[in-house]
């Protein structure tokens, strides 16, 4: 099992994305900026003719060999920083990213603590119960165990 996990992990790690064609890079960028022409919609999803033109300009820049960072900088200088479809992870924008992460971490931590506490409480009760019922313990024969498994199977399937 361990070997399988390691092999899978390595396979996922080396599955690096291939180098994108200029049009693919332009499409990626269009999906990462808001459209100046359609409120609340990314440039990629905006159906207006102006959006078509801006997408074509971005493709042109990509085909001319501009890097993604340079294209983003060009767009920000033309339309302002609000063109980015995600808050930058600094200053006030950091809270946008940090809070969901904190929610997952704190939620998981709380759930783990509660589950542990409830399990310990249950263990304690079981120990008490075990002392009380030790005298009544019965040994199950192989035939009884087979019948019990069959009946449990029926119950599990709803029969």
């Amino acid at each position: 099992m361990k070997h399988l996990s390691v092999a899978l992990f390595l396979m996922l790690a080396i599955a690096a994305p291939a180098i994108a064609a200029p049009e693919d890079m332009a499409n990626d960028i269009a999906a990462e900026i808001m459209s100046p022409y359609c409120p609340g919609v990314t440039l990629h999803d905006c159906p207006s003719a102006e959006a078509d033109q801006l997408r074509a300009r971005i493709t042109g820049w990509a085909e001319a060999g501009w890097s993604k960072a340079r294209i983003m900088a060009q767009l920000e200088s033309e339309f302002g920083s609000t063109i980015r479809a995600t808050p930058t992870p600094e200053g006030g924008g950091l809270t946008a990213w940090a809070l969901p992460l904190l929610a997952v971490l704190l939620g998981s931590l709380l759930a783990a603590l509660l589950a542990r506490r409830w399990t310990e409480a249950s263990d304690g009760e079981r120990q008490l119960g075990a002392t009380a019922t030790a005298a009544d313990a019965v040994t199950m024969t192989a035939e009884d165990r087979r019948r019990l498994d069959a009946e449990l199977g029926v119950l599990r399937s709803g029969g």
Partner: protein, 663 residues
């Protein structure tokens, strides 16, 4: 003939009847007076009848082209087809709120029609449902009156927004509203349980079918919204994390958490506070969604109408949230349950993890949706939170949930030893590994997609294994063939296997989502006879044909798609001019299949017939719709389960009468 004139008087009558319903049922609930509670219920039913009359009045006015009504003028026209004339009912704010109220009062009347439970329980549920109805009737009578009359009656109306003129719009909004509104029933009974201190599982049993019905309608409504976006908006996708999409997704997430966590309360008597909090959150989020959609607080392509209802909604939302939380807080002692897990490796733990993830997902979506509003309020600067944010935050949680969907059924209730656990997960793990190795060996290089494939394969195999185990028992016990045994298992335990069918549908949907990692998109400006390349396809723009209908001028491009030199499809996307709105609208053409969709949209047509074409190859998208169909089958199985009978009510405690009454 239009019945539009009946609308407002009917709403006024309904308002007074709902006020009576609140009064009588409150009295009945507080004093345990059966007659008063019954009078309240009847007033609510009569009010529902009048709301229904108002709804019919607006529909009649739309079909009769009664342009004396402002709403009819704004959202319909003589040229509009009958189907879309019906859709105009929910095409604008006032009409959609009326539609919401029709559904709300109808569901309330249906949920309360059978005498069952205690007088005070039904009384309190009536108070809550008629109170909510009263709020929506207030909106309809004042800021969102759909029966406002125009001084100058125009000869024709403005028509329906062309984007809404899609078959999906005939079903998608009604289903979403049905889902949102139907959650008011479990919410009302949950609040009634708090008010009456009847905090056992009875209120869950009484409302289980309503919860399932609401969740099913919301689920299908969300998927149909995605299908509408895919076939109508022309950007090649189905989900854009638009605030309005998020508004429907947030209550779905909390409701899904609730559907899972009630199982723990039913089986183990735990999570009582949690379940009440979840149904409260679900309903508040459902109303919050309507507030987002209809208040104009967020700019969105879905926010077709903006109105002055925000200031009405906010106090209502606050009252529900604060009131609900205060009720839960006041009953904390009675809600205390004996929480114990026999083992950390148990189905109970899996359910707990499932709830944490669903809640974290709901919070992440809520936070991303309201973050721009909060930032604007605090700093005055409006920032955008778009799809890249939601994808980054949600996808890891979503993938973890898919893994849990497979893991959950493999773990036994109460406790499971590690050896048995590894025996159960062995085959699904191998399937997951194959789902990574095979595509990776074939050259797939998207880590996210490989993880998704692995988890889908793991979960799919785990669930199929459950069906096999269940069928095997019936096969050996009743000497049945595999198909009959499977059918027997499904029908004998509809809740369990119906749920698994829903989970299989979810797996297929996630498989479809994973396919988007391999999307190819190209754009080109083509003269007739020119060609472009997208993926393995060569698209040739053969010719342009023109047509004309009373509603629109049609410009249809004929595009042949060939692969390996052979024509495999002919696609006919359109770019149409809607005459009333003088607005161009693209109609997408899609050649769909299990492997991939070829999706073509014309975004502009020049006077000389040259066309701007966007083409996409969308792998595996077909599986999203198949998954949704499978989910619908699973939901039908779940809903066909015979409703659980609530435990009989205990004998009423003697009512302490005030001194004046005793005299």
């Amino acid at each position: 003939m239009s019945l539009g004139g009946l609308g407002r008087p009917a709403l006024v009558a309904a308002f007074f009847l709902m006020a009576l319903a609140v009064g009588f049922s409150l009295w009945g609930a507080l004093r345990r007076k059966n007659a008063a509670a019954e009078a309240g219920r009847r007033a609510l039913t009569a009010g529902a009848g009048f709301v229904g009359v108002a709804g019919l009045a607006l529909v009649s006015a739309l079909f009769a082209h009664d342009f004396s009504l402002e709403y009819v003028t704004n959202y319909s026209s003589r040229a509009l087809s009958r189907g879309y004339t019906m859709a105009a009912l929910w095409g604008g704010m006032e009409g959609s709120l009326l539609f919401w109220t029709v559904l709300l009062t109808l569901f309330a009347a249906l949920a309360l029609r059978r005498p069952g439970g205690t007088t005070s329980m039904r009384g309190w549920a009536t108070v809550v449902l008629s109170g909510i109805s009263l709020f929506f009737l207030l909106l309809l009578l004042f800021p969102a009156n759909p029966f406002r009359v125009l001084a100058d009656v125009p000869a024709d109306g403005n028509g329906l927004n062309p984007l809404l003129q899609s078959p999906g719009m005939l079903i998608h909004p009604p289903l979403l509203y049905t889902g949102f509104v139907a959650f008011s029933v479990p919410f009302a009974f949950g609040m009634a349980a708090l008010a009456t201190k009847r905090l056992d599982g009875n209120w869950l049993k009484q409302t289980r079918r309503w919860t399932l019905f609401a969740w099913s309608a919301l689920s299908i409504g969300i998927v149909l919204g995605g299908a509408w976006a895919y076939t109508e908006l022309g950007w090649g996708g189905y989900w854009a994390w638009d605030p309005v999409e998020n508004a429907s997704f947030m209550p779905w997430l909390t409701a899904t958490a609730y559907l899972h966590s009630v199982v723990i309360q039913e089986k183990r008597g735990m999570f009582k506070v949690w379940n009440l909090s979840l149904i409260l959150a679900t309903y508040v989020l459902a109303v919050f969604g309507t507030f987002l959609t209809r208040s104009g607080i967020l700019s969105s392509i879905h926010t077709f109408t903006e109105g002055p209802i925000g200031r009405w909604f906010l106090p209502f939302l606050a009252a529900m949230l604060i009131g609900g939380l205060a009720m839960i807080a006041s009953r904390l002692d009675a809600l205390k349950s004996k929480n114990s897990f026999d083992s950390l490796l148990s189905r109970e733990s899996a359910f707990l993890a499932n709830n944490v993830l669903f809640l974290a997902a709901a919070f992440a979506v809520l936070w991303g949706t309201i973050y721009p509003i909060l930032m604007e309020a605090v700093s005055g600067v409006r920032v955008a939170v778009g799809p890249p944010f939601f994808n980054s935050v949600f996808i890891p949680i979503g993938l973890a949930l898919i893994g849990l969907t497979g893991l959950g059924p493999l773990i036994a209730w109460r406790r499971m030893n590690k050896k048995a656990f590894f025996r159960m997960v062995r085959v699904p793990l191998i399937a997951g590994a194959v789902a990574v190795v095979a595509p990776a060996a074939a050259g797939v290089r998207s880590t996210g997609a490989l993880i998704a494939f692995a988890l889908c394969a793991f979960t799919f195999t785990a669930i199929i294994g459950e069906f096999v185990r269940g069928s095997r028992v019936h096969r050996s016990r009743e000497q049945l063939g595999w198909a009959s045994a499977l059918g027997r298992a499904l029908m004998r335990n509809r809740r369990r296997y119906g749920g698994y069918v829903v989970h299989l549908g979810v797996v297929l949907i996630v498989l479809g989502f994973a396919g988007s990692a391999f999307r190819v998109e190209r754009s080109a400006h083509l003269a007739q006879g020119q060609a472009m390349q997208v993926g393995d396809y060569t698209l040739r723009y053969e010719r342009l044909t023109r047509g004309d209908t009373p509603e629109k001028q049609i410009f249809q491009a004929n595009i042949s798609a060939s692969r390996g030199g052979e024509v495999v499809e002919t696609l006919e996307p359109q770019r149409n001019l809607h005459k009333v709105q003088q607005q161009f609208q693209s109609e997408v053409a899609i050649a769909t299949g299990p492997v991939e969709d070829l999706y073509v949209v014309v975004t502009a047509i020049d006077p000389d017939g040259a066309a701007s074409v966007r083409a996409f190859v969308n792998p595996l998208t077909w599986w999203i719709w198949m998954g949704a169909a499978l989910m619908a089958v699973g939901m039908s199985v779940l809903l066909s389960e015979r409703p659980a009978r609530p435990a009989p009510a205990p004998a009423p405690a003697p009512v302490r009468r005030p001194a004046v009454a005793a005299r």
